[in-house]
C-alpha cells in the first residue's frame, strides 16, 4: 500500500482498492464464515425473518474473519482458506466478540474500531480510549461509511429483485413475476413458494457489501494511524538513510582497495565492465530501430594514380641533400612557431599589465570623442573655459571666491580629462575623482587637487568659502599642476 497522508475520504476509498486486489481470499473467507451461521439459523428457527435477523446479528463475527484476511494480505500474503479456518477459534476468543455481539452491536464505527480490538488486541477501557483518540477526526467518514453500506446493501437487494423481474421468462405471467419481487424485497406471506428468495437475496447482499464495509473501515484506521504516527515519514527516512549509506559505501571500498594495493583487481573489473557495456551497446544497436540502412551515391574526385619515383644511383647524393634541407626546414618551422608563441605571450602580458593599471589609453581622437561634457552639473568642455583661467580666478578670488574656485576646479577637471586622459565615470563623486588622481598622479599634484576639491565642495555645498588668501594660493599654484602645457 502506498503510504502518504490522505484526507479521510480518500483513506476510506483505499478499502475498495484493497478489496479489489484481494477479492478472492476475502470473499471466499466471507462466504465460509456466513454459510454455517446461515444454515444453522435456518435449520433451528422456523420463522425466516427471525433467522435472517440472526444471520444479520452475527455480522461482527464475519467482520473479524474478513479483517483477519485483509490484514494478513496487507502485511504479507493472504492466508489460505484452511489457515483462515484454523484461525477462527482464536478470533472468536481474543477479539472481544462477546461485547461486539451484545453491547456494541449497534455501534456505528464498528469496522473502524475493529482493528483496535482485533489487531492491537486491546480491550476494556484501554480500547475505548484508543477508539476515541483514533476516531477524533474520522467521525463524519465512519458514519457516512456505515450509512452508505446500509444503502449499498439495500441497493443490492432492490437491484436483485429488479434484475429478476427483467430476466423473468416470458412464460411466467406478470403476477407471478411480481410475487417474486415482493418475495425478494419483503418476504411477504402471499409469495408462496418464493418465500426463501428474500433471505437468499439479503444474505447475498451481506456477503457482497460487508467486506467493503470492513475494508473501508480498516483503510480509515490505517490512514488515521499513518497521520498520527507518521508511518510514511518513517519509511522515507529509512530509505534516505539507506541511500546515504549506499552513497558512502563505494568510497570506502575504493579506499580499502587502494590501501591494500590490489589495483589489478580493479583493472580487471573495469575491463570487464567495459566489455559488458560494449556487449550492451551492441545489443541495443541490434534492435530493429537501428537496423535501417540506405544506399547513397555521391560524386568524389578520382584519386590520382601514384607516381613512382624513378631511382638512380646518381641521384642519391641529391636526395640526401634534399632530405637534409627538409629536416632543416622542419626545424626552422618549429622555431618560427615558438617565436610566434613567444611574441603572443609578450603581447598578452603587455595588454594585461595595462589593463591592471586601469589606465587604458585609447587613441586621442577616439578618447576625445568619449570625453564627458558635463560632470557634477559643470560644463567641462575645453572650449567653455577661458584660456587665462588662473589669472581670472585670482582676480575674482577676493570678491567672488565661489566663481574663482569653480573656475579652478573646472579647469582642473578639463585638464585631467583631456590632457591626462583620466577616466571619470558617470556616477563618480568628487571624492572618487580625488582617489583616481591619487592613483594616477604624483603625490604633490594629487595633494593639490585634494585641497582644491575640499575648498570647492565646502564652498559649493556647504556655503563656507575659505579665506581669500587660501583661494589666491590655490590660484597661483594652479598653472604649475593643471595648465594645458604643464608636464603631465
Amino acid at each position: 500500500m502506498a503510504l502518504r497522508p490522505r484526507n479521510p475520504w480518500e483513506g476510506a476509498d483505499l478499502g475498495v482498492v484493497m478489496l479489489r486486489a484481494w477479492w478472492r481470499p476475502v470473499y471466499s473467507a466471507m462466504v465460509i464464515a456466513v454459510l454455517p451461521v446461515a444454515l444453522v439459523a435456518h435449520l433451528l428457527i422456523e420463522q425466516p425473518l427471525i433467522a435472517l435477523v440472526v444471520v444479520w446479528w452475527f455480522k461482527p463475527l464475519y467482520d473479524r474473519v474478513v479483517l483477519h484476511v485483509m490484514a494478513r494480505a496487507l502485511f504479507g500474503v493472504a492466508p489460505s482458506l484452511r489457515a483462515t479456518l484454523a484461525d477462527i477459534p482464536s478470533l472468536v476468543r481474543a477479539t472481544g466478540l462477546a461485547g461486539a455481539l451484545s453491547l456494541r452491536r449497534l455501534e456505528i464505527a464498528r469496522s473502524f474500531n475493529l482493528p483496535v480490538r482485533q489487531l492491537e488486541r486491546q480491550a476494556g477501557a484501554g480500547a475505548a480510549a484508543r477508539e476515541r483518540l483514533l476516531g477524533r477526526r474520522a467521525g463524519a467518514q465512519t458514519s457516512a461509511l456505515m450509512y452508505c453500506c446500509i444503502a449499498f446493501e439495500t441497493i443490492a437487494v432492490v437491484s436483485l429483485a429488479a434484475l429478476a423481474n427483467l430476466l423473468r421468462p416470458a412464460s411466467m405471467d406478470a403476477d407471478a413475476g411480481m410475487s417474486v419481487i415482493v418475495a425478494i424485497l419483503f418476504g411477504a406471506g402471499d409469495a408462496g413458494s418464493w418465500h426463501w428468495l428474500n433471505n437468499v437475496a439479503f444474505i447475498a447482499a451481506y456477503c457482497a457489501v460487508e467486506p467493503l464495509y470492513v475494508g473501508c473501515g480498516f483503510a480509515l484506521y490505517l490512514n488515521r494511524r499513518t497521520a498520527l504516527e507518521a508511518w510514511d515519514l518513517e519509511l522515507r527516512f529509512r530509505r534516505l538513510s539507506d541511500k546515504a549509506r549506499a552513497r558512502a559505501a563505494p568510497a570506502l571500498v575504493l579506499l580499502a582497495a587502494v590501501v591494500a594495493g590490489t589495483s589489478s583487481f580493479f583493472c580487471a573489473e573495469t575491463a570487464q565492465a567495459a566489455q559488458s557495456s560494449r556487449e550492451l551497446i551492441e545489443e541495443v544497436l541490434a534492435a530493429p530501430e537501428f537496423q535501417q540502412y540506405r544506399t547513397q551515391k555521391v560524386w568524389r574526385p578520382r584519386e590520382r594514380a601514384e607516381r613512382q619515383p624513378r631511382r638512380s644511383p646518381a641521384l642519391d647524393l641529391a636526395s640526401w641533400f634534399s632530405s637534409l634541407a627538409t629536416a632543416a626546414a622542419q626545424i626552422l618551422r618549429v622555431l618560427a612557431y615558438a617565436a610566434l608563441a613567444y611574441g603572443l605571450v609578450i603581447v598578452l602580458r603587455f595588454l594585461l599589465e595595462r589593463l591592471r593599471e586601469g589606465a587604458w589609453r585609447t587613441a586621442p581622437a577616439a578618447r576625445a570623442a568619449q570625453a564627458p561634457e558635463m560632470i557634477f552639473g559643470l560644463d567641462v568642455r575645453p572650449e567653455a573655459l577661458p584660456p587665462d583661467l588662473a589669472q581670472l580666478a585670482a582676480a575674482a578670488a577676493a570678491s567672488d571666491p565661489r566663481l574663482a574656485l569653480s573656475l579652478l576646479y573646472r579647469g582642473a577637471l578639463v585638464t585631467l580629462i583631456h590632457r591626462d586622459r583620466m577616466r571619470i565615470e558617470h556616477g563618480d563623486t568628487e571624492a572618487d575623482c580625488v582617489r583616481r588622481v591619487e592613483a594616477t598622479h604624483a603625490h604633490e599634484r594629487s595633494e593639490y587637487f585634494a585641497r582644491l576639491v575640499t575648498a570647492w565642495t565646502r564652498t559649493a555645498y556647504g556655503h563656507r568659502p575659505p579665506q581669500s588668501s587660501h583661494v589666491i594660493e590655490l590660484c597661483t599654484q594652479w598653472p604649475r599642476h593643471f595648465s594645458a602645457d604643464a608636464a603631465a
Binding site: 500500500m1 476509498d13 452508505c148 427483467l166 507518521a230 534516505l240
Partner: protein, 230 residues
C-alpha cells in the same frame, strides 16, 4: 517493480511532468449524490409550492423545471462551476476528463444523461457495481464520457513549521531529503514527542545531530530550508 495499492491515476504530460489525480470512491460520491438529490428535491418542492398556485400553467412550468433539474442542471454545474455540483463541492470533489483537463459540455451531458443507465436495474445498482469493479471508480456514465471524479485537495493541509533558530544541514540536501525534512517539521506537531524523536533518530546520517537532539535539529534544519536566517 512492486505495485503499491493506491487510488491515484497518474497522467504523463508531453513535457515529462507526471500529474496525479486522486480518484474519489463510492462512499464520498454517494454522499455527494445524496446532497445533490436532496437539493434538487428541495428546489422542486419550493417551486411546486409557488407555481402550484398558478393552476395548469404552473403545473406545466413545474414539469419543465423538473426535467431541467433532473437532466441538465447537474451538467451545467459541472461545466460552469469548476466541475462540481453543490454536493461534490461540499465533499471537495470535482469532475475532470480522463486526461485531467476540465470537463466540457459533451462529456458533462453524456455522464449526466447516462445516469439513467447507471440507475438500472433499480436504485443505481449497475452504477455501484461498475464503480466497485472499475479501476478508476467510474460508473457507466463516466466510462462513456471519459471522465473521472477526483478530490480537489488531496491530503491534509500542511501546518506551519514550529519556529526554531535556523541551522544549515551539515551537507547540501537533495530534493527528496529536503521534502522529507519539511514534511516532518510540518507534521511533527501532530505526533507525540516520543514518536517524533523515534522517527527523527533515523536521520543521524542526514543531520549529524547528537543522540537525543535529532528531533530539534530536524526542526532547525527545516527552519533554515524555509528561508529563515538568524
Amino acid at each position: 517493480m512492486l505495485h503499491l495499492l493506491d487510488t491515484v491515476r497518474s497522467i504523463p504530460t508531453p513535457e515529462g511532468i507526471e500529474l496525479t489525480l486522486h480518484l474519489a470512491g463510492p462512499v464520498p460520491r454517494a454522499v455527494a449524490w445524496l446532497t445533490d438529490f436532496l437539493l434538487r428535491l428541495g428546489v422542486l418542492l419550493a417551486a411546486a409550492w409557488v407555481l402550484g398556485m398558478l393552476g395548469a400553467f404552473g403545473w406545466s412550468a413545474i414539469l419543465i423545471l423538473a426535467f431541467l433539474l433532473e437532466w441538465l442542471a447537474m451538467a451545467a454545474f459541472e461545466v460552469w462551476a469548476d466541475g462540481a455540483t453543490p454536493g461534490k463541492r461540499a465533499l471537495g470533489l470535482m469532475v475532470l476528463h480522463d486526461d485531467g483537463t476540465p470537463v466540457g459540455w459533451p462529456a458533462a451531458l453524456v455522464r449526466n444523461l447516462l445516469r439513467a443507465v447507471d440507475f438500472l436495474p433499480a436504485a443505481y445498482g449497475f452504477g455501484l457495481a461498475a464503480m466497485l469493479l472499475n479501476g478508476s471508480f467510474k460508473r457507466l456514465g463516466d466510462i462513456a464520457a471519459g471522465t473521472v471524479v477526483v478530490y480537489r485537495e488531496p491530503g491534509e493541509r500542511a501546518a506551519a513549521i514550529p519556529l526554531a533558530p535556523p541551522v544549515p544541514a551539515p551537507r547540501p540536501l537533495d530534493l527528496d531529503e529536503q521534502r522529507a525534512v519539511m514534511d516532518f517539521a510540518e507534521r511533527s506537531a501532530l505526533l507525540t514527542p516520543e514518536r517524533a524523536q523515534e522517527i527523527a533518530a533515523l536521520t543521524t546520517a542526514l543531520t549529524g545531530a547528537p543522540a537525543g537532539r535529532e528531533h530539534q535539529r530536524l526542526i532547525e534544519i527545516a527552519n533554515h530550508l524555509s528561508g529563515r536566517r538568524a
